[in-house]
Amino acid sequence: MPLSHVAFLILSAVALISGGLVVTRRNPVRAALWLIVALFSVAGIYLLVKAEFLFAVQIILYVGGIMVLFLFVLMLVNVNVSVRQAPFNRQWRVALATALLLLAELAYGFWRGAAPRLKALAPVAAPSHPLGNTQAVGMALYQNYLLPVELVSLLLLVAMVGAVIMAKRRFD
């Protein structure tokens, strides 16, 4: 088995286990820290498929930005109360059944449809031009996907304004 396969298996095991710990930990701060571990291993998977730009974005934006925001808000709301309370709600039987049903459905569809078809797909030959990954993503972003980039910037602006207004206003 090549080294990249071993690395993928280890990284995906880490991602799945820490994802499970995110859902089951009682303390939300611990859940956030396990989520950081999961995000790091997903970033490692990006590196394995030579998506270096996404690797950097994942670490800088997700781990450095979004998770720090999560931890800030966790410090603002009262964590100590939720440590003492039950972590799961009363509908856990229905929720578990729904999730397992979805898992079975996806697995069935995967084994019946996707797996044989993916096996039949001939791997496409790698392009000959030696464009680096970051350069290729940048070219695609600013040439073919210029309008979506502008829309995303608008979306971020709207989210920022909305967050400021919602966090500022008092309801009473």
Partner: protein, 100 residues
Amino acid sequence: MIPTQWFLLLSVGLLVIGILGVLLRRNVLVMLMSIELMLNAANINLVAFSQLWHAVTGQVFAVFVIADAAAEAVVGLALIVALFRNKETVNADEMDLLKW
């Protein structure tokens, strides 16, 4: 090259874990974290097919998904802060103002 099926299986696993988190947990913050897990599962799929076809489009859309995740986290956390000010709780089953 790592088989694309492995990526799909990992993505299914992360997606189901995220759905379980959203459905099971009472804490709204952990529910938001589970949503981040599901978005990561989608990104793994996009990157896997980008690797399979040697096309960079999947990675471009993964960048868009990450930007969306940032916007969603910002708005969601602002909502949580506003709700905590108003009701002094972060439990989803205690926010029942719209229930009959």
